[in-house]
């Protein structure tokens, strides 16, 4: 058992699950989505990204790429939220943008988890 594999696996799954937790609910109603969950999703995604850094294998490179995609989408989601709240005011369009960005991040996270699982299954030990 490789401890760094445990840690990175842990954060990859955690990133996906918190992301899903935030995404789940009516995409037009902001009250159905917790800001704390978005915060947690961002932090766990960033940590998951850090643990994918410096991996020279091909699958490591793809994992890093998916993770970066998720980071970008989640951070944009939070930025849109801040923009909506302080600059233009919250309306349905902003809310849908926040949720759909996190949905995009979730797909990237799903790809990430699939790759991670595939790599784990492929290895013989």
């Amino acid at each position: 058992m490789n401890l760094s594999n445990v840690i990175s696996g842990f954060f990859i799954i955690l990133a996906l699950t918190t992301n899903f937790g935030f995404f789940y609910g009516d995409p037009t109603v902001i009250d159905e989505h917790s800001r704390y969950e978005l915060f947690a999703a961002i932090i766990f995604n960033l940590i998951a990204t850090v643990y994918k850094l410096g991996d020279k294998t091909q699958i490591g490179a793809v994992l890093l790429a998916t993770s970066l995609v998720a980071d970008i989408q989640l951070i944009s989601s939070a930025s849109v939220w801040a923009f909506g709240e302080y600059v233009v005011g919250m309306n349905t369009e902003v809310v849908v943008a926040i949720i759909s960005l996190s949905g995009g991040a979730m797909i990237a996270n799903i790809v990430s988890v699939i790759l991670f699982t595939a790599e784990t299954i492929k290895s013989k030990r």
């Binding site: 940590i47 850090v50 643990y51 850094l53 410096g54 709240e85 302080y86």
Partner: protein, 566 residues
Amino acid sequence: MDNTALFLIIRRLRVPMFVLITTFGISILGMVLIPGVDEQGRPYHLTFFDAFYFVTYTASTIGFGETPYSFTYPQRLWVSFSIYLSVIGWFYAIGAIVALMQDKVLASQIDLSKFKGKIHGIREPFIIFVGYNLLAKSIIRKLSDEGIQSVVIENDAMRIDEMVLANYTLEIPALHGDINDPDVLRMAGVNKPLCQAVVSLSSDDAMNLHTAMAAKLLNPHVKVIVEATYEEYAENLNTIGIEIVENPFKIVAKRLYMGLRAPSLLMLEQWIYGEPLQLHPRDMIPTEGKYIVCGYGRMGKALRIALKRAGIEYVFIETNPKKVRQMRKDDVHIMVGEGQDKKLLLDAGVKEASCIIAGMNDDFINLSIVMAAKKLNPNIFTVARQNNIHDDSVFKAADIDRVTIVKNLLINQTYIAIARPLSERFLQLIKNKGAEWGDGLIITLKQIIGDNPDKLETVVDEEHAYALCRHLEKGETAELEILLRSRKDHRYCNRAVALYLRRGDEDFLLPDPGMPLQIGDQLLFAGDRESFEDIAYSMENLYELQYVLEGKSCATSVSCRLHTGR
């Protein structure tokens, strides 16, 4: 993906970045969760953006006051906690980065990638030196002054530092690595078509053999120049097809034989190595009488063959009884004992001997042998082997007739092999020519050119002989002799002699001046500066070539152009 250094940095940054993200996350979350009070005394919660903004400037110690309203005490408690938390996080991260910069593994990886970049950037032919010792140093210096690029592989980091300080004309890339790792040679560019030769002049024969094999396996076309002082190693090297195996002791012996029986060849050889075309008093070794040689090691063995071949009477003195027994099998001219022992010297016949050779591998024993012999017989010709280049002044002060510095011979030989391939081949060809042939050549050279002829190596190709190539491509002929004609007056010959012509695999020693030239011919001339200038002009310039061919100078350049078809 080959940039190991970058990956190493990124991988090492994982934990510091994890710490930073976590401390920020905890601080922000706390700021959001703890309720505050606004101006009207109503409770409120910081939004995530407020908290992120606050933590960002607090953690980076900019300090900005409390925002958007003054904090309550629970908030201040949390802020105090998060300041310490985030400052510790930053300190750890910065400390980790500084430690990374000092990391030896990383430094060596960065050096390696720099070295690879330099090798990749080389656009000229280059030579790889394995080991940066005194020999390599002198040869690299000579090559660098000629504009020939070298690359160094060295096991000892101190020597690489020394090399960086040596300040050569060209920048010499150096790789810190062990030759036992085949990747090291590959990284130094042995596979590249521009790699001309691999040189290993270590005093350790096994290492030389190793280098030679590795280089030959990685690139069969590369020239390998190694030193081999033991016969077994030399044979091994020859069987695996290494062209140039240099045995310094054989060179010494060959020169001794030449000095005894064919001084003119010795003169030619020294001239090729860059000395004037004359014999020094130190080369006038006695050709008659008895020789006493101290030391029957690798050098002694080589000297015995030379003395025997020259038909000189000799006796050896050796301290190691094992070596004595080895020699006694087929020869009896050996005595056991210390060379500086007066009684032993007298027994060996120092009084009537004509020459003593101190050939031990210890400089101070050699000096004392020579001193002792001189005391007993002031007229004796003394030859001493100098092992360490640093002992120069001591040997000069000792007033020895001839000092043999084995390392210098190797430097000359290797330099010629790398930078003057035609001269090297010329030396090989004249090796067995005999004294009369040499005498004849030297008289010719002295008559035509004078006491101090120069050497010129040139090739009939596009780069060196544009005009001549055009002329030959048209199907016309040009004899070698036209290159020797004077540009002032074509009826006269310049003071130059063609020593050697190489055409493909054919050698023409002292080629006939009437010989027609072909494209691709390589030529070695002896002559003076003026004649070399004329040779270069006649080969490169259409008008000059026209003149030396036909003896007519073109009055108008237009007609000349028409004539030469340009």
